[in-house]
């Protein structure tokens, strides 16, 4: 299967399906030796999936297509296989063991052992060498937890170099870094290039992409939109490529009219709970109105979910800002305060933090509103049953019985159970975080209908979504967040995919 190829890495006709969705559809991706190749696309365009195929996280049997390295066909069953072929992937979530020291981390899984015992002198020596290569001047026996995120990122890269990586893949490497650290990282990538290393760079921040990339491949909805030389592209051209789809998805007609201000958040500034002194949300102010659907858009890491979680009182350290509901201040110390004030929040991760999967439909739906149905310390089971049954009917949840465990329902019906749970709290403001993630088209449409009905009945709905068509099709007004700041606000009439994406990627 050997043939001469100008490409260092080729991925051909890659097709990957998840139950119900085609994540990648005949994607072609080719990287020249010694270049910095940027991979860009919206949330969910398939960038991370493609890299997981390259790194062997998804084994050979789970996708179609071929991977060629230097013209030679490769089959990766595991991360170990791809590492052997010289591929190192550095993920958004750093994979360092926090309580081990730097050299232990660098050689984790590739320990330098002699006769079954680790040779620590050799380990420290080699660790210092690779640290030198990435320009880090730290003692290799420092415990990782004592180091900043930027340094940890560099150690990840050092780890890749220690594995003798030929192709370095960086997935959103700059999202947690400060400006100076980003500068250092980009500088390091350029110096690697001069030494002949090949680099794949995934980023939402187009400024960085234009600063370092030689070529750019654009993915749109799991398809390749093309590969371009950086000098042939302008920022606006790139954005229109990224959103270059036809709006075919159908949305139900809307009959709601925004009324008085329901929720008012002002001067909201919050520090990141894990990265000291990093301002995660920077002076954000917005309002949502009665009978309105307010869309919140932004790319991964822009701070959308964090904004809502901090308003619910469960995330970050608040520096300034207050929340008002119909003019009266809301205490945001804990979710129960906020929920009883009339603000309910559907989480983006329905399995992880939305539902108790091992409990049944009835218990899940009643969970957040038990207080309303308790008298004399006992739950009124009959009124609970009636309320849940009516909600099941109103939302048309398909379940054989109220005693069915939620884990046995389809994704769409699970999501409706979660929505029903919050509707039973009779909220004035309902915040929906990715309300249609991972559910099929039919169920999506039903949820849109429910949202429109609730808005028409006078509820104030805030919807966070990563899907641009959904944001455009459902919102009366759109807030766009970028890097923890409110980048702009668009009305339904003003909004286009390009405008939202320009704001989201930090453009003007």
């Amino acid at each position: 299967m050997n043939y001469m190829s100008e490409f260092m890495l080729e991925m051909r006709n890659i097709r990957k399906e998840f139950p119900g969705v085609v994540a990648l559809d005949n994607v072609d991706f080719a990287v020249l030796p010694g270049e910095i190749h940027a991979l860009v696309g919206e949330n969910g365009a398939g960038k991370s999936t493609l890299m997981k195929i390259l790194s062997g996280v998804y084994p050979k049997s789970s996708y179609e297509g071929h991977i060629l390295i230097n013209g030679e066909t490769k089959q990766f069953q595991s991360i170990k296989d791809s590492e052997k072929a010289g591929i190192a992937v550095i993920y958004q979530e750093l994979a360092l063991i926090k309580y081990m020291n730097v050299s232990e981390n660098i050689f984790l899984g590739n320990e330098l052992a002699k006769n079954g015992l680790i040779d620590w002198d050799e380990t420290h020596l080699r660790a210092s060498e690779v640290l030198d290569e990435v320009g880090l001047k730290i003692n290799p026996s420092t415990t990782v937890i004592n180091l900043g995120i930027g340094t940890q990122q560099m150690i990840e890269i050092a780890k890749a170099i220690a594995k003798k990586a030929q192709i370095l893949v960086l997935d959103e490497p700059t999202s947690a870094l400060t400006e100076t650290e980003i500068g250092n990282l980009l500088e390091l990538l350029r110096s690697f290039k001069s030494k002949g290393m090949t680099c794949i760079f995934i980023s939402h921040k187009l400024k960085e992409v234009f600063a370092v990339a030689d070529r750019i491949t654009v993915l749109v909805d799991g398809k390749t939109a093309g590969t371009f030389k950086t000098e042939d592209l302008s920022e606006s051209r790139l954005i229109s490529l990224m959103v270059g789809r036809e709006l075919t998805q159908r949305f139900p007609p809307k009959h709601n009219t925004p009324g008085e201000i329901a929720l008012e958040v002002s001067n909201w500034t919050v520090l990141d709970p894990e990265i000291p002194d990093k301002i995660a949300l920077d002076n954000i102010s917005f309002v949502s109105r009665k009978g309105e659907i307010l869309g919140i858009s932004g790319l991964m890491g822009a701070g959308r979910t964090e904004l809502i979680l901090s308003i619910m009182g469960t995330w970050g350290r608040r520096v300034s800002g207050d929340v008002r509901l119909f003019g009266s201040p809301v205490s945001v110390r804990s979710p129960s305060d906020v929920i009883s004030a009339g603000i309910s929040y559907l989480t983006e991760d329905r399995k992880g933090s939305g539902l108790v999967l091992i409990k049944d439909v009835k218990e899940n739906m009643a969970l957040a509103s038990l207080k309303k149905r308790t008298s004399g310390g006992l739950i009124d089971c009959d009124s609970e049953l009636i309320a849940v049954e009516d909600m099941v009917e109103a939302l048309r949840i398909k379940t054989p019985s109220l005693e069915q465990l939620v884990q046995n329902l389809s994704g769409g019906n699970q999501q409706k159970v979660a929505i029903g749970k919050w509707l039973l709290t009779e909220p004035k403001v309902l915040i929906l975080d990715e309300p249609t993630r991972g559910i099929d088209v039919g169920a999506k449409y039903e949820i849109y209908v429910i949202m429109n009905r609730l808005a028409a009945e006078g509820m104030s709905i805030i919807m966070i979504s990563s899907e641009l068509p959904e944001i455009l099709g459902m919102s009366d007004r759109i807030l766009v967040l970028s890097d923890g700041r409110l980048a702009g606000e668009l009305t339904r009439e003003q909004a286009t995919q390009e405008k939202v994406m320009t704001l989201a990627t930090g453009g003007k």
Partner: protein, 404 residues
């Protein structure tokens, strides 16, 4: 299933008898297997002891023996359903037993006052452990392990290393005594016990019928008539059976009545109160519970306070039965209690478990103790058998979960 209101009453009533039966068996498989396992264990011991095991005298003793562990399972159930564990119950019971004994003998307090103070102490122990688990974030495993060691020391301190014994008959009666006969002093059956049994049976029928009527009136699903009748007969048979067994020996012990009362309270807590629901939600998905507005810390605190209080009740019953507080009292109670909960279907990873199951589990553990002692098996064999049964019970739990 095209009808959009598939949940409706009529749907279930239209089902044939066999289909409904299949449904019920499928939904309650776990509980039925437990009861069948219990009956199997009883049959085996009856065979091996040539019928001694099944005699009213022995069964009466068996029920009395299970009281302490039975009481403790209530608290342990809450702790385990919330996804935690309590390793301290044995030591805590020992200390509280020593305290009640000390208060009555050395301090010379009236038993009722001593009991009230001891229950207060149990609540305090719960506050102490709950504080560390809920508000200081120390894992329950560690907090209760620390208590296990520390309270062993406290027991030695209170007892001064010696056995405190021989209590007022009014106190002893809690652990050993039987309710008095009313009129028929020489009847073959204990009259008051039989009367209470009868009252319980009538009350049960009354409640069931009323509930059924109410549900039908509101349009909720109810069991088919035939099925309801069978359920009623089986449960009445169980109540009557236990009552008759107790009645044909010495009557109902006070300890059993206390156990029934506590079990009743826990049944209400777990099924009818918001707190109970919260406990299951916390164990099932802590993050979802928190985001649903549940104050997880406060509820964790409550769980330990309840567990501590019920430990005090158990220690009083136990001390009264032994009629002494010893330095080693309560040893291994934690393993018996945890085993009882797990055998009764409580999940080791939280979120699943029932009071009914835990009590059956306690009965299984007590039956093993009782049966093996009747067979004169050496104590080492008894320990090994119990250890193995615990291991297998957990394995069944895990195998069940991974299958899904």
């Amino acid at each position: 299933m095209a009808d959009k209101r598939t949940i409706k009453t009529k749907h279930l009533e239209e089902k044939s008898f066999t289909a409904a039966l299949a449904d019920i068996i499928k939904n309650n498989m776990r509980q039925y297997t437990m009861i069948i396992a219990l009956l199997l264990i009883w049959s085996i011991f009856t065979l091996l002891t040539k019928g001694v095991f099944i005699r009213p005298r022995n069964l009466s003793n068996l029920f009395l023996q299970m009281c302490t562990i039975g009481l403790l399972t209530g608290g342990m159930l809450l702790v385990m359903v919330s996804g935690n564990i309590d390793l301290s119950v044995g030591s805590v019971c020992g200390t509280l037993g020593a305290i009640v004994a000390y208060l009555m003998t050395r301090a010379g307090l009236h038993p009722i006052i001593a009991i009230l103070i001891t229950i207060g102490c149990g609540t305090l122990v719960g506050c102490w452990q709950g504080f560390w688990v809920a508000y200081r974030g120390v894992p329950a495993f560690i907090v209760t392990l620390a208590s296990q060691i520390a309270f062993r020391g406290l027991t030695l301190l209170v007892t001064n290393g010696a056995t405190i014994g021989e209590f007022d008959p009014g106190f002893k009666i809690i652990g050993q005594g039987y309710i008095p006969r009313l009129f028929f002093k020489d009847a073959p059956l204990h009259d008051l016990t039989m009367l209470l049994t009868l009252i319980a049976m009538v009350a049960f029928v009354f409640i069931e019928v009323r509930r059924r009527r109410k549900r039908i009136a509101k349009g909720f699903a109810v069991l088919p008539k035939s099925m309801q009748l069978i359920k009623l007969i089986l449960i009445l048979a169980a109540i009557g059976g236990v009552g008759t067994v107790l009645g044909s020996y010495m009557g109902a012990p006070y300890a059993i009545l206390i156990l029934l009362a506590v079990v009743g309270v826990f049944w209400v807590i777990t099924t009818r109160t918001p707190f109970g629901r919260h406990v299951y939600a916390i164990g099932g998905n802590r993050e979802a519970a928190r985001l649903s507005g549940i104050n997880v810390k406060k509820e964790m605190m409550k769980i330990f306070i309840i567990a501590g209080t019920v430990s005090a009740v158990a220690s009083i019953v136990f001390t009264a039965r032994i009629n002494a507080a010893t330095t080693s009292a309560g040893m291994l109670f934690e393993s018996d209690t945890i085993a009882a909960c797990i055998i009764g279907g409580t999940s080791t990873s939280g979120g699943v478990g029932s009071v009914f199951g835990a009590i059956i589990g306690a009965l299984v553990m007590a039956s093993l103790d009782n049966g093996m002692s009747l067979m004169n098996l050496p104590i080492m064999i008894q320990y090994m058998v119990k250890g193995l049964i615990l291991l297998v019970a957990v394995w069944i739990d895990i195998a069940n979960r991974t299958k899904k």
